[in-house]
Each structure stands twice: as C-alpha cells, then as structure tokens.
C-alpha cells in the first residue's frame, strides 16, 4: 500500500514509522506540514509520534491547525485508513477527527514502559511499549457513553497507567477508518525489540 507519513517540526517517530511500514511491504512516503497533497496520492496515512511544535500550547494543538491537515481530512473523509500514534493521536483529537482529548498523565510524569492492551470487541490481549507525558485520555461523560455504544473504543490498558477514562488507550472515529492510540506498535514488530505485537497491527 502507498502510505503517507506526515511530519511536523518536532515529529520524532517519523523514521521509525517509515521503517515499520516498509518492513511490512508497504510504500511509505513522507509529507511535510506545510505541504498540501492530493488525497489520490495515498491509500492510507500515518501521523507518527513525537513533540510536534515542541508540544507548546497543548500537545498536538499547533500541528492540528497546520496546512497539511486539510489534506489529512480529505483522506479521512474518503474513508481511507488514517492512524495517529502517540502525538499523532493527540493531533487527530485536536483536529476533531477523533473524539476526546489527551491531557497530562495523572502522575504528572512521562511514562516509558511496556503496557498490556485489551481489545474490548475481540478480547485480544497484546503488549506494546508506551512513551508519553500527555497520554491520559479524557472525554465528557455523555460522549463517553456514546463511544462505548458506537464501538469506538479500540484499545484499553489492562492496568491503570495514566489516569485515562475507562483506561482507554486508543479510539476510532464513528466509521472506524480513523484510529488513534498512545502506545507505539512500530516499536514492537521484531523479536529483538522485545515483542512482535506491532507486526501487521493495523493494515
């Protein structure tokens, strides 16, 4: 698949995501935040992790308002798969493409660890690394119910790590093509990385 990888100033998992996609047989292509591109150019998009615009203001807030997001929205509206990892997830929430918001961890500290995740629909359990300071998923009560009713909870932590509402680690949009999660699947796809649950994790 031809998959766009969107880079903002401060994105730092871009090269990792590129490699992850390439090693799984895809054709990744970088896009820069100032560029607009035609949605025809790609079959899917990834917004990698990092600290876009230094996470100044709020994580993902500045990136969500940069020119390229118009192209990202176009791809999303066409129903093509769009994945936000970590800071990418924060950007998709800030851009209104995913519900909810990500706020500072309840402990106030950055957390780097392996986390066990559970899929509420399939009950599948997987292990992925996490590395975030603002990974606490927040959503208002009425929207929280909707999220569950509409099967939009993608992954949950099996343990409380960062204060997320319902231990939510990842969500999808209503139609399911736009997805975001805080853990890093691209950091767990070879044995030497300590786990392989990130292999063929998404598409």
């Amino acid at each position: 698949m031809k998959i766009g990888v969107v880079r903002f100033p401060g994105t730092n998992c871009d090269r990792d995501v590129y490699k992850w996609l390439q090693d799984q047989g895809h054709q990744p292509q970088f896009y820069w935040h100032e560029d607009l591109f035609s949605s025809q150019e790609v079959e899917a998009l990834v917004l990698p992790g990092g600290f876009s615009f230094g996470d100044y203001l709020r994580s993902g807030a500045v990136a969500a308002r940069s020119p390229i997001m118009n192209s990202v929205k176009e791809v999303a509206n066409q129903g093509k798969p769009v994945l936000g990892i970590c800071n990418g997830f924060q950007i998709l929430c800030e851009a209104g493409l995913l519900p909810g918001a990500l706020i500072p961890n309840s402990g106030g500290e950055f957390i780097d660890d392996w986390a066990e995740l559970k899929s509420p629909s399939t009950k599948q359990l997987i292990q992925l690394p996490i590395a975030h300071g603002d990974g606490r998923y927040f959503i208002h009560e009425e929207d929280r119910k909707k999220l569950w009713d509409q099967n939009q909870v993608w992954w949950q932590y099996t343990q409380m790590l960062n204060g997320s509402v319902d231990q939510i680690a990842g969500v999808t949009n209503l139609s399911g093509n736009v997805r975001g999660l805080m853990p890093h699947p691209e950091r767990a796809y070879q044995d030497w990385m300590g786990g392989i649950d990130g292999w063929k994790f998404w598409i």
Binding site: P9, R15, G50, G54, D55, E109, M193
Partner: protein, 681 residues
C-alpha cells in the same frame, strides 16, 4: 585561591575578580599581547583560559590517553573521537559534566547538559542514537536533595524525550559526600549514517563565509564557563543567571537541518557553540584552521537587542552552531534551514593572516591572534604524589544506591529510533546497528570504591562496565571519560586525579579500547568540602551479529548455576583480571553460557533475584561476603560443566540449578565448593 596583592590598584583587582583571572595570568596576557589588554580582551581571556575551556590543570596528564589506535579516526582536539567498527559503520561518543549548573538550577542545568553533549556529536556529522546519564546525589534528607533529584531527572527526560534520542542506560549513586555538589554527567553516542563523512571544525578557505545558525543569542549563560571553573560559596542564588535555558524542540530541528546540509556537502567546517559560546567556537575554528576570521558581532541574531559585544561573545545560549561554507553554498544552506524553520545568518568571513578581527558597527574592537588564547593558555603542573593500590576493599555495609532506579528510567523514552534491544533495566544497554551487530553501552565509576582506594576505584571505572559487557557477549571497543574532581590546587585531590588518569589509560590498553574523548570537571567543592574523586566513564562495546545468545536472567530450567570470580580476594591485579574476563568472553562466544551477570555491591542474593524475573530461578539462595570485586553468576547446560569447571578451577562457590519460579528454594542444599578466602554468611 591566590591572595590578591593589596598594593595592586583597585580597578585591576576588580577586573581580576570579575574575570576570574589570577595576577600571574594577567601578566602572561600582557606579555603575549605586548600591551595592556583592552576591555573586550579581558572577556576573551577569561573565557578561554577558564579551567573549563583550557584544561590548564589537567592537560599535561591527559596526554597519557593519547594512543594511535587503528580503530580511531579523528585527530586530537575534535569534539569527539570517531571509532570505525568496520562494515561501513562508524560511531562518535562523548561524555560531559553539567554539575555546577545542575546544582544551581537542576531542571535546566540537566536539560542543557543533554543538549550540549548531543551537539558535540551531531556537529561531527553523526546522528545521535543513544543518551546515558551518570548521576551522583546526596542523601535524600539533605537540604533541597529530593527536589534536586526529581528536577534533574525531569530535565533529562524533558530534553532527551523531546529531541527524540533514547536514553538507554545510566548509573546513579547517592552518598552524603554529594550533599553540596551533585554530579550530572551526560553521555551521547552518534552514528554516521549514509556514509556521511566526519565533519571537521577547522576553518578553511580565504573568502569563505562564517554562518551563524540556530537559536538567537540571549544573555543566558554569560560567564558560564568561568563560573563552572569555580568552587561554590554560600552565594549560590546570584549564579542562577549563569545557567542556560534549553529548547529541545529547537535542537531537534537543528539536528535535522545540520545533518541535511552535511549530506548535501554544503559545509567546510562546523562547530557547536558550547562553553564560552561564540568565543570558543570561533577562536578554536580559526586556531585549528590556521586562518584569520573577521566577525561582525552586530550581525549576530539577538533575542535581546540590548546585548553588547562582550555579552554576545560570552553568551551560552543553547542550540546554536557556527559553520564555514563557500559563498556559493550559502543560498542552499539557507534554504535547508528555512525549511526547518531556522535562521542562518552570515556574520563574517575567513580572511588571510592569523588574526581574529572583531567588529561592532564598523568599529574594530580587537584584532588578535587566536593562538594567543587557544595555544598559549597557561598550563599548570599542580603538585601531586604517586598513589599505590591499597588492597583493602570492603563492600559497603550500607547500600550506596537506592533500591530501584525504575522511577528514573521510566521517565525516559528508551525506544525511539528503533534500535533498543536492551534498555535501562539491564546491566548494559544494547543498541542495534544496521549490520545486525549491537553496541553495548555501560557507564562506570563507583564512588564508594573510589573513596576506599582511588587506584582500584579508577581501574574499576573501566573494569566494572567492561565485565558487565562481557557478560552480555560484547567486548569493549572504546572509552570516554568525565573526570569529576575537587580543587586541583589541593595536592591530595591532584594525586587522585593523576592516579585516575593513569589507571584509565592503563585499563584502556589492557582492554584494547582507546579513550576517544573526555571532559574534566574540577572545583566540585562547596565551602571547602570536596566531592569524592569521581572519574565517570562511558564504555562502548560491540556484540557480533548472530552471536550465541547470552542473557542476564535465567531462561530455562535444569541449567547449572555457579558463581565464579575473575579476581583474587584482596589482590587487585589488572592484567590477570582482564585475562580472566577474556577467558569468560571466549566461553560466551562459544555458546557455553546461557546466562551471565556480574554480582553488584547489592550482593549475590539480589543478583539472583534480578536473574529470576522471567519464570525461572536458582533453586538455592544465600549471601556471600565476597572479598573479590568481580564475581559473576553463570548458568549453563550440564554438558558444559566440566569445561567451565576446568576453565575456572578454583573459583566455584555456589552450585545450584535453575527451576521454575514456583518451586520452593532448596534449603538443604550445600555449597559444593568454595575457596577458603571467601566468607559465607
């Protein structure tokens, strides 16, 4: 401190105090210039002759590290040495102290320590791929200490995580001796990807442009270098403005932009602006290139328009670099920097002759030969005496380290970059290279051992990390050091310094791992109270591709478990220890060993516990009071028992076997064999 001559006139006395220079240094300055120094020259000499920049107390001893090794590529004096690992893989690494700033302002002090060491690496053309930290704190009950620990860790986490370089390992000690002087040493390692050539820092080519890139200059860090070369007094608050503020987001952009212009071959020379900022970078570039420079200081981009030439010269604002390029390449460079949202401003030219001309709004402030400051800096042969090995090592009764470091490394991104095979919870980090080989990284220096025996302690700064590395199946390839000491004018401290340098230099030869870079931090003392000598090291080793797997924990049941010693009790013999380590390494290379782990000062029981994290444990457990330093737990298949026993005939102590974690310990088990010199408790 030298006592000021009261007969000196008051203005001279004030100047000497302000610029932290001695009367003898002022005389030398006058002799070199053949006249009275102008006001701007006072500032230049102050910065470049600071202990921090000139290594004036240490230089004559550091020559002992010089060693032409076939693996090492760089000439002396570059930012860091380059190690050629073969298979088209080259690395650069270095370690640097940020002790004084971190004690004054822990968050920004530690953060900029990381930022500074990263710039030392990418200024050479290597992409930083790993960070490690060596930290010494005081007792938790000491004033400010809990805050200092928390904020230092947060500062490292803030900078390293944002800039996207994983922090993969470290060492942390806590002892009352560091109550008034904490140590924050940052290590960074970079890889020359895409066959990128090693960038030099010597200015070349008359008519070439001097270009300032990165962040604007502010007043932060003015006089930072000379501050860092001074002992603390009670007046610490007043030094806060000498601490720099870092911006990792800016650094991330700077890394990408700098590596891009290097890949496009647009640069003649590049140098980061570290200690003493623009002064040291420009003077060193000119001195190394044996050329002159004309610098228009009024062209330097400023954050605060009130700054004058002296502040511009001495500012230690972060995330700035100086580069030299051909005039025709300027446009292409500016395009790359603009893409990354960064400024790049020509501020001068390379000129004929050997002088640096500093201009301020068309007025010449000074015209001076950089070698007067760089090459003719004072060198002191401080008094010292020769130290010998005492051979009276005792493990500390009280644990010198906190129980778990997890609260620290959990705050560091350890996996960004997709190279981390083994992260901070392990004795050594393993960082994967494209060839499938792995770098092993470990930091050394156990201050409690330095305190007991500075000679053994200094050897141990290389031996402990190297033996840990051997247990991981890697052999050391090169070393960096960060020598933290008290006041070099104290002969006792100077003696420990000289002994440390000699022990490290000797160790480097024994392990065949040259010292490729380093840093000296003196004056780690407050109100006359000095730190224990702490020569921290960073050892980097190489693990071959497809080598037999060896783990630092038990991986299956029915393996034999023994402990062996690589040294004799109370008889520290460096040659013998390295020989034993080599023997162990060969066993591991032949695939005879399933698990190996060095027993730390926390004891055998603790080591066995640490090896039991993955479903298997040793069926017996007890404590041994080792009198030797390097004791290793090995687990292996029973078919290799004879071979291993014959290799280390006198060194078996415990003999057990691995069992599933759920099986109770065998309390009736006997120790099969142990040397009479080891005590069992």
């Amino acid at each position: 401190m030298e006592i000021l001559d009261l007969t000196l006139d008051k203005t001279l006395q004030e100047k000497l105090k302000k610029y932290r220079l001695r009367i003898s240094e002022y005389e030398l300055m006058k002799n070199l210039l053949k006249r009275e120094p102008r006001s701007i020259e006072w500032a230049l000499f102050s910065a470049l002759w600071s202990e921090h920049c000139s290594y004036k107390s240490s230089k004559i001893h550091l020559k002992k590290f010089a060693w032409k090794h076939p693996r090492v590529l760089t000439a002396e004096g570059e930012n860091a040495g380059v190690v050629d690992l073969g298979e088209n893989e080259r690395i650069a690494f270095k370690m640097e102290s940020h002790n004084h700033p971190s004690f004054i302002e822990p968050f920004h002090g530690a953060a900029t320590g990381v930022g500074g060491i990263l710039r030392d690496i990418f200024t050479m053309g290597a992409r930083p791929i790993a960070i490690a930290d060596y930290l010494c704190f005081g007792e938790a009950e000491a004033p400010r200490m809990k805050t200092l620990m928390k904020r230092v860790v947060k500062g490292i986490s803030y900078y390293g995580n944002c800039v996207g370089v994983p922090t993969v390992t470290g060492a942390t000690y806590a002892m009352p001796e560091y109550n008034q002087n904490i140590l924050v040493n940052a290590f960074a390692l970079g890889l020359f990807e895409n066959n990128r050539k090693v960038t030099v820092s010597s200015a070349q080519g008359i008519g070439n442009l001097v270009v300032y890139v990165g962040a604007k200059t502010g007043s932060d860090g003015v006089h930072g270098a000379s501050m860092a070369s001074e002992a603390f007094t009670e007046d610490m608050e007043s030094k806060r403005p000498t601490v720099q503020i870092g911006d990792p987001f800016y650094e991330k952009l700077l890394i990408e932009a700098c590596l891009e212009i290097l890949d496009q071959d647009l640069v003649v020379a590049m140098q980061d602006m570290g200690a003493a900022g623009l002064t040291s970078s420009s003077f060193e570039m000119a001195s190394k290139g044996k050329v002159g420079l004309r610098l228009q200081l009024d062209q330097v981009p400023l954050r605060d328009s009130r700054l004058g030439p002296e502040e511009i010269l001495l500012s230690e604002s972060q995330e700035r670099m100086l580069l030299v390029c051909e005039p025709s390449k300027l446009e292409a460079i500016q395009k790359v920097f603009a893409h990354w949202g960064l400024e790049s401003t020509p501020i001068g030219q390379v000129v004929a002759g050997r002088e640096i001309e500093l201009l301020w709004k068309n007025e010449i402030l000074t015209k001076i030969d950089p070698d007067l400051l760089v090459e003719n800096a004072p060198m002191y042969q401080r008094p010292y005496s020769k130290l010998k090995i005492k051979n009276e090592i005792q493990y500390p009764g009280k644990k010198p380290t906190s129980d778990s470091k997890k609260w620290i490394y959990r705050q560091y991104d350890q996996r960004v970059g997709l190279r981390t095979m083994q992260e901070a919870g392990h004795p050594v980090a393993l960082v994967r290279l494209e060839s499938g080989r792995a770098l092993s990284i470990a930091l050394g220096c156990r201050p409690w051992l330095m305190k007991q025996d500075p000679v053994v302690g200094a050897y141990d700064t290389i031996f402990e990390p190297s033996i840990k590395m051997v247990c991981s199946g890697a052999w050391p390839v090169a070393i960096t050091d960060c020598l933290n000491f008290g006041n070099p004018e104290n002969p006792e401290i100077m003696s420990e310094f000289v002994a440390s340098v000699e022990a490290i230099a000797h160790s480097a030869r024994l392990w065949d791992a040259p010292v490729i870079s380093g840093n000296v931090s003196f004056y780690n003392e407050t109100e006359g109270q000095s730190i224990p000598s702490t020569p921290a090291t960073g050892v980097v080793g190489l693990k071959q591709k497809n080598s037999f797997p060896v783990h630092d924990y038990f991986v299956k049941e029915n393996l034999k478990v023994v402990t062996i010693s690589l040294d004799e009790p109370q008889n520290f013999d460096p040659e013998k220890i390295v020989k034993s380590a080599k023997t162990l390494f060969e066993l591991i290379e032949k695939g005879r060993v399933s698990s190996a782990r060095l027993i730390t000062e926390k004891g055998l029981q603790h080591t066995l516990d640490m090896m039991s994290i993955q479903n298997f444990k040793c069926n017996i457990t007890f404590e041994v009071n080792f009198k030797s330093l390097y004791n290793v737990v090995l687990a292996f298949e029973s078919q290799f028992e004879n071979e291993i026993k014959n290799t280390f005939p006198d060194h078996f102590i415990v003999q057990g076997q691995t069992v599933p974690s759920s099986v109770p310990f065998d309390l009736s088990a006997k120790i099969i064999q142990f040397s009479k010199t080891w005590g069992v408790s």
